[in-house]
Each structure stands twice: as structure tokens, then as C-alpha cells.
Amino acid sequence: MSVLVLLLAGPLQSWGSSARFARRTTGQAPSKSGVLGLLAAAQGRDRTADPSDLAQLRFGVRVDQRGTRIRDYQTAHRPDTGEAMPVSERFYLADAVFVAGAEGDDDLIGELDRALREPAYLPYLGRRSCPPSRPVALGLRRETTLEAVLRREEWHAAEWYQRRHRNEPEVTLDCFLDAAEGDREVDSVRDLPLSFDPSHRRYALRGVTRRGVAVPNPKADPPDHDPMSALEGD
């Protein structure tokens, strides 16, 4: 088994799993359908192509920098007729950073890694207007599990954010993982893609468990260290 690791960071991101009609909400973390859609696009798949092989990947995301939810009140007119479009409310996460991982068999993961480095369609963070600010591909990790990768990956939050937590040598980050059997407190989210076909998008329910992982803070103040106190005065 290998794990593909992605860094999702940008000025704006938007990951709707239940957004419909004029109110386009965003979840607090990337959705599985959003990230799989990004991977399928990188591979150059058509929207009508079957995403079931991707849907089988075990998916998890870690919240490295929470970001702020902001609301945009959007009015638009058709450029040709001047006719007003429905007024819509759009929500975004500003300044958020996530690490996402997809675990699957070596061949598929290797293929996706290559696709991410030379994407057929450029990746975006949930909505076409949200470009990533750092390279999305963090590479693949071989012979490991999704949990181990999310635990081991260093903290990718911005430096100013890490410095703001300088009193914490270790920070606990939320992880949202595909639920496994035996997990307690499983939430259901409808973001497991069955079809990305624009004429009939379909999503199935997915069980999600939340876990905290502790990662070291590289910008933490070091503990006090006084070697002289160990010596007997001379």
C-alpha cells in the first residue's frame, strides 16, 4: 500500500459537500469528492468517466491551519442579455492549510502522483476561482498507512501561524478519516462520488471519524536549558 500526500493551501478554498442552489457553503475541511475530483482532473479524465476506482481509495485530511470562514454575496448578470442571475451566497475558507492523503495500491497511487506533477487540468481548491498557493503534490509514501503518514507529516501551517503557537511545543491537529470498522462516533457526509457527470452528479454517504494527532511545532520556544545549574559552584 502507498499513500499519496497532497498539500491544499491557498488564499481561498471552498469544499462544499451539501451545497445546493443559491447558498454555496463550505465544509471545515476538504471533501473526499473535491480531492478525488482534483485527482481525476489531473489525470485528464472526463467528468462522465467512472470515478469508482478513485472512490475506493482510503481518504483522510489533516487540518494544519484552520483558516477563517468568509462569506461572499454574489450578484451576476448574463453578459449577453444583461439578465440578472440568482443572487447567491458563497462561503470560503480564507488562509487555510490542509494535508490530505489517499491510500491505495501502489500502481494507482503512482499514476496519480505522476498525474499531479503534470496535470492535464490544473488543480484548484474546491472551486475554479480558488488556485493553490503552493505545489499540491507532496509526493507519495510507500509501505505505510494513511494514519502513519498524517501523524508523521510535518506541520505545514504558515510560519506566522506556527509562531503564534510558540508556547506549544506540540500542537494537536484534527484529522478527518474514512471510518473503518469498529470506529465509534462516526459522522456521515454525502461526498463519496458515484458520478461527476454534470447532468446527474451523484454522491453516496461516507462515514468519517475525527481524530487528533500531535505534531511538533518547529517555531516553538525551546525549553529552558541551563547547564550551569548541574555543576557544583567552583
Partner: protein, 237 residues
């Protein structure tokens, strides 16, 4: 052996000059020993390290065989009107007291590197710094047994069920040092230093004594390799 602590006055130009160049700091540290002919004479060499804490506090630590005189440093980069200026303690009793099983908090600034073959099949290797915290921690863990200590494992109950990140070890303050050896030199020296903080258990007192006196890793002339120990209760997370 002696352990010396010198507090640098970071408001002074002299201190800033020293802090900005490991080459100058090295010269200033050695200038405290009038009898010393080269950096590695006799038993043990002069090791030094700069600890930069919060609030512009910077301490220079020196381990040496002779007792240093840092009057010149006080005049350049210290607080000349304050009494003392630096403190030097006899290190030998402490070193002799080390026993297997002791637990100490430690700090080490080092230059963790590995050798990389630049092309397949090529004989030459290139010395390359470790970049990620994970590899840097691994670098230290690979050397611990040979250096006479073992980094303490975290107590059970910490949220680290598998083999990763379960040691009481903190890797921080990675910095890249780049400087010229002499004024006008075309090529510059470039190295990567990182500071380890953690708790260790003494496994072999004799070897650890050697590590504390002779240093660990490369770039010892440039403020790397000096490990110091402090009471383990001071290590809090």
C-alpha cells in the same frame, strides 16, 4: 575541563558581528586561550555553541581544557561595567559523576549531514544536509548508542501508538549559515545547523564523557557539536 557561559550583549555592534559570523565567533572563542596553538591540541578541543533564547538573550557556551579569559569578549560584546561578565565552572567533577541510568535534559546544536551519490555508479559522494525534522531526528538517534546515551522514550499514554515521534526529543531552530572564511574569498562556507532538545539516559558514562568533551558530528569549529546537560526536571513540555 571547564564549562563557560558568556552572555552576549546583543545591543552592541561587536556582539552582532560575532553572532553573524561563525568564523569570527570561532576566532573570538579561541582568543580566550593564550596558550592554545590550534583548535584541536592535546586532549579534547574547544567546543562552543550559541543559545539564542527569547527576548534577545544570547548565551555563548564553551567547553575547554583550559580556563579561558574572555576579557576581550566582554569589552567587545558583553557588559563591561557589570561584575564578572562570564562564568566558568570546573566541568571535571560533573563529568566524573555521570553514571549509567542517569536521566538528563540535553541540548545539542549539530550539523546533521549524510553522503549522497550524485550519479548512479559514481564513486564520489557529496555531503548533503538533512532537511526534514524527521531525518534530522533520525540522524541523532542513529548516533546515540555510539555516543553513550539513549534518548528517553515517552511515557505510555502519549498519543503515539507506533514507532514514530515517541521519543522525548525536539528538533528546532534550523538555520543555514553562510559565510566567507576570509575577506575577499570568492567561495563561501555553507552549512546547516539544527538544535536538538530532549531527555537522555546515560548508557555508557565513559563514552558520553567523550561526547561532551569532543563533540558530536561535523562543523565543530562553527558552533556545532557541543552537547550540554541540565537537570532533567527542567525539561518540561
Amino acid at each position: 575541563m571547564y564549562l563557560t557561559r558568556f552572555r552576549l550583549n546583543t545591543a552592541r555592534m561587536g556582539a552582532r558581528k560575532l553572532l553573524s559570523s561563525p568564523q569570527r565567533m570561532h576566532a573570538a572563542v579561541l582568543a580566550g586561550f593564550p596558550e592554545l596553538t590550534s583548535a584541536s591540541s592535546g586532549e579534547g578541543r574547544v567546543l562552543w555553541r550559541v543559545d539564542r533564547g527569547a527576548k534577545a538573550k544570547a548565551f555563548l557556551y564553551v567547553v575547554s581544557q583550559e580556563r579561558p579569559d574572555y576579557t576581550h569578549l566582554v569589552e567587545q560584546a558583553g557588559w563591561p561595567t557589570l561584575e564578572g561578565g562570564w562564568e566558568t565552572s570546573d566541568y571535571t567533577p560533573f563529568l566524573e559523576k555521570l553514571t549509567a541510568g542517569d536521566v538528563w535534559a540535553f541540548r545539542l546544536t549539530a550539523n546533521p549531514v549524510h553522503k549522497v551519490r550524485t550519479c548512479d555508479g559514481q564513486e564520489d559522494t557529496k555531503t548533503t544536509p538533512h532537511i526534514t525534522q524527521h531525518h534530522q531526528a533520525e540522524w541523532l538517534l542513529q548516533r546515540q548508542e555510539k555516543a553513550g546515551f539513549r534518548v528517553v522514550r515517552k511515557a505510555a499514554g502519549d498519543p503515539h501508538p507506533d514507532g514514530e515521534g515517541e521519543r522525548e526529543l525536539l528538533v528546532h531552530d534550523q538555520r543555514r549559515l553562510e559565510f566567507r572564511k576570509k575577506r575577499g574569498d570568492k567561495s563561501s562556507v555553507s552549512l546547516s545547523a539544527v538544535t536538538f532538545d530532549g531527555r537522555l539516559e546515560v548508557t555508557d558514562p565513559e563514552t558520553l564523557r567523550r561526547t561532551l568533551i569532543h563533540g558530536l558530528g561535523r562543523a565543530k569549529a562553527y558552533g556545532c557539536g557541543l552537547m550540554t546537560l541540565a537537570p532533567s526536571e527542567s525539561w518540561s513540555r
